[in-house]
């Protein structure tokens, strides 16, 4: 196995890329995230934070998706 450290999506810095390993978000948001392409195995990059620090602007599957830190902290990733 590769020795990569698993962290959560909210720890990503602008410009950093990662691969999603698990989505632990619950409720309706869970399915909505899946619909938007946030599934295990997808590559994701943090583009920037909103001017007030939250939410975040991520690039995934070739488009920009914005979610709050709260949800991002329940999405597990491996940094690339």
């Amino acid at each position: 196995m590769l020795d990569i450290q698993e962290t959560t999506l909210d720890t990503l810095k602008p410009g950093e890329k990662a691969r999603i390993t698990k989505v632990r978000v619950k409720g309706a948001a869970r399915r909505k995230l899946f619909d938007m392409g946030m599934v295990a195995g997808a590559d994701i990059e943090l583009v920037r934070n909103a001017p007030l620090g939250d939410p975040m602007d991520y690039r995934i599957k070739g488009y920009h998706l914005s979610i709050r830190k709260e949800e991002a902290s329940q999405i597990f990733i491996n940094r690339l």
């Binding site: 989505v23 978000v25 399915r31 392409g37 599934v39 195995g41 583009v47 007030l52 939250d54 914005s66």
Partner: protein
Amino acid sequence: MEKREIKIALTGNPNVGKTTLFNALTGSRQHVGNWPGVTVEKKSGRVSYKEYDIEVIDLPGTYSLTAYSMDEIVARDFIIEEKPDVVIQVVDASNLERNLYLTTQLMELGSEILIVLNMCDIAEERGDRIYIEKMQELLATPIIKTVATQKKGICDLLDKVIAQKEVEQHHGHEIGYGSEIEDKILEIEKALSEDENRDKRYPLRWVSIRLLEGDSNVKRKISDSPVYGRVMEIIDSIDQEEYEAEIADKRYLAINTIFPQMCTRANDTLTKSDMIDRVLTNKYLGIPIFLALMWGAFELTFAFATPFMNMIDIASTWFADYVSSSLQPEWLASLVGQGIIGGVGAVLVFVPNIFILFFLLSLLEGSGYLARAAFIMDKLMYKIGMHGKSFIPMLMGFGCNVPAIMAARSIEDEKDRLITILIVPFVSCGARLPIYVLFAGTFFGRQAGTVIFAMYVLGIVIAIISAKLLRGTIVKGKPAPFIMELPPYRFPTLKTSIIHMWDNGFMYIKKAGSIILVGVVVIWVMASFPWGVEYGSEESYVGSLGHAVEPLLKPLGFDWKISVALIFGLVAKEIVVASMGVLYGSGDSSEALSERLLADPGITALSSLSLMAFSLLYMPCVATVGVIKKETGSWKWTMFAIVYGVAVAWITAFVIYQGGTLLGY
């Protein structure tokens, strides 16, 4: 020769060009309405092509067909229940991968689908290559390239639609979910199929997959079935969340395996849109630019609208006078002139405002900036228990509450939307300004500006407190998660914006119009009867009502005249000023009215302050009440908005008046 009918539905992700394509297909022959029972907009139009009469329905934009929002449920129910001959998925060629997720779901629905590859110009400019032949083969559906903005590919599309309708091929492209899930699907299918009376329009496999994904809407649909218990046993035996994740994974996996064969994407270079975002959502520049844009939009709304508003005002006043003086008998002249034309005119005055507001909003939306506005404001809004998307409706409320409440449609979460609708009426709209101008101008002299500004702040503060209060009591919970696409910036098309403006402006006239008419007539009757009294005088029913409510309003510093004016103000708040004019017998001259107000010992600076606050808060005007009813679909919430508003207004005015009296003002 009789034309043959074809019904087609346009579906697809938001922002892929559905509406543009719809307009290109149908020209101006379209009709906007609501889906029965829900506030999602429904557009249908017709196009004659060769020997066919084609009806086109523009379904709401969705990312998937799960039951996350009303839009999604409307879209899928339409496809299943109305069975359009052809379902056209409009796909953004420059964002294929995510768009195909919806395709996988549409195919499961078992309908005839046809894919329109729109925005080919953007994909080509960027250097993407899409292999159409290969794509058709892999997806087993016809694919048509279009550029909706340039009307390219429209005839080709119509030809393919006809071909599709005539051939009736069935494409059975299905995704396999792996043996474990497939076993469960089979189990559920088997259980379901034993119910002879099931709704056969819904494919068994689709229902089964939905149930495994925990779709509550589908669950409700089969809850009367005799096999419901059996099905639920199967569902309860699985790890729901795992299945949900697994099913989504499998769909994307299916896309990932075919995607590289049909498209090679240009290297990820910095697009123009990314560069614009570097400025517009910049850490330091983002907020100042946002504020400047909002302020500009606001200024523009009023600057452009004012001359038109004045014209409508003059015209309706003239018309009312003309009718009053020429109609017989006198009561009819009064009903039509003072009542109907006067009241409806007072509301029509806002039509220019609303048209311009919607036009600018459509430009902002079409350009992609509206999504950024929600992105920028979300953190602040979240702090007061609201969603980022609530910001725009609240801002629009300063112009007019009616379109503001309509704009709340873009909020998916029902609770977020409800709270927005309930607090928008506290945002001080343009119609309340004349009241402040009259009273602040009369009683506060050089401090008038400060007083007016304080009224705007008061409205915002009350809105914020109300949002917090509602969140803690009857609309419990946190704002829904913020999960939103930031679409690429585009040049909005003038035509789309104008159509958008027209549709919404017209909707306002229609909806507000009917309710206002009723309200106006009721008030006219109350002001004119019993038979023979002077209109709106002390002896009329309105006068009696004024006297009746006087004890309630006395603690706020209001006498019966102000009470009557406030009752009239229910139609539209600026009527408060007009009826003060009538009651003080000062005609239309505001200077004369000012003098008489100053001379009346019944009104002091303090009671006028209390009156301004009360007028700001006391109850949404009739047009707003009508829209609240329409948009919430519930009399209960409409009544709540009214009662809550009156209560808040009373308490606030009471605090101002009694507090002020205690302090010796």
